[in-house]
């Protein structure tokens, strides 16, 4: 099994996630696409770690997961706070951070 295949898959997933961030206007879906990009990077980490027969890449993927979890918690809290004050989760409506 060629490691390139996994990396191509990771690149495809990252690209789809990046396009989603550009395309979608619902803040929660944008957030999900960011998660998709992080997961794609994790797949690349694991694959490259395997080609080098070291587990350092897995440790990095593990730390990425922890940071992503913290990011989700804070991000969703921000989305909730904005929704509460503006009754909307569209990223277009939040062009002004105040008012």
């Amino acid at each position: 099994m060629n490691p390139d295949h996994y990396l191509y898959l990771a690149a495809a997933l990252f690209t789809i996630g990046a396009s989603g961030v550009l395309l979608r206007r619902n803040a929660i879906v944008v957030f999900m696409c960011v998660e998709l990009m992080l997961n794609a990077a994790n797949l690349a980490f694991v694959t490259v770690a395997r080609t080098r027969s070291e587990v350092d890449g897995q440790v990095f993927a593990f730390f990425t997961m922890v940071v992503a979890a913290a990011e989700v918690v804070v991000g969703l809290a921000i989305i909730m706070a904005i929704f509460r004050s503006r009754r909307s989760v569209s990223v277009d409506d939040d062009s002004l951070l105040k008012f």
């Binding site: 390139d4 996994y6 396009s19 395309l23 957030f31 027969s53 587990v55 440790v59 979890a69 909730m80």
Partner: protein, 237 residues
């Protein structure tokens, strides 16, 4: 063709389809479900590649915790909030697709130039011998070499928790009203002092969505809760 290749060629197209579903679904709940599917399949990829611990963590943390958090927030925000279809910026969608495609082509082209040797499998980086598995090697890395980073992630998680609590905390404006004050307010307004009538009284059914009947047989609209009113407009009481 090895078993790993079979798993890869079956799951990789499904993963890409699910990822496209995340982006293309009109409703946010479908996006969340597609993302959960993508994450489960990525966990299978991790396990197939020998990163068993990471695969289990992926399922527990992502599909377990993170996706549930997403679904909770979707429920709070309202499930039926879908994207606005009007384009605020002209050509925004086309430009996003073109940029995405270009980025993907550049990324995959760059990967094509990279030279990777074949897989050699995990042996454990710290030279513990053949008997040391991946999990033991991971534990040694996390708790010895990267212990400082590990502790920092602990601090990060605590900070994120406190941040979420601060962000979602709602301050109470003024003091809470007592029952006496509420009662006085109700009488001062004067529109309705008694409790609202119960639904279904003297009606043909006693469901909560059926309005009660007044003495002259007319339905009492105030007896039905606000959330049922739209569905009972045309119904017989």
């Amino acid at each position: 063709m090895t078993g790993e290749a079979v798993v890869f060629w079956i799951l990789a197209p499904l993963t890409v389809i699910a990822a496209l579903g995340v982006v293309a679904s009109a409703k946010a709940v479908y996006s969340a479900l597609f993302l959960a599917a993508t994450m489960v399949m990525l966990a299978v990829f991790y396990i197939v590649q020998g990163a068993v611990f990471l695969g289990v963590v992926q399922i527990v943390v992502y599909t377990g915790a993170v996706m549930m958090l997403f679904l909770f927030v979707l429920m709070l925000v309202g499930v039926d909030t879908s994207d606005t279809l009007t384009e605020n910026l002209r050509g925004h969608r086309l430009a996003a697709v073109v940029i995405g495609l270009g980025f993907g082509i550049l990324l995959i082209g760059g990967l094509g130039n990279a030279s990777l040797t074949g897989f050699s499998g995990f042996t454990g980086s710290t030279g513990g011998g053949a008997g040391v598995g991946t999990v033991e090697a991971l534990a040694e890395l996390i708790f010895v070499r990267y212990v400082w980073a590990f502790q920092l992630t602990g601090a990060l998680l605590i900070t994120a928790t406190i941040g979420a609590m601060v962000l979602t905390h709602r301050d109470q404006v003024g003091t809470a009203k007592t029952q006496k004050q509420l009662s006085q307010e109700r009488f001062r307004r004067g529109d309705r002092v008694t409790p609202l009538p119960s639904p279904g009284v003297y009606a043909r059914h006693n469901g909560v969505d059926r309005p009660a009947r007044l003495p002259d047989g007319a339905p009492a609209p105030t007896s039905v809760g606000r959330q049922f009113r739209t569905s009972t407009d045309g119904r017989q009481p």
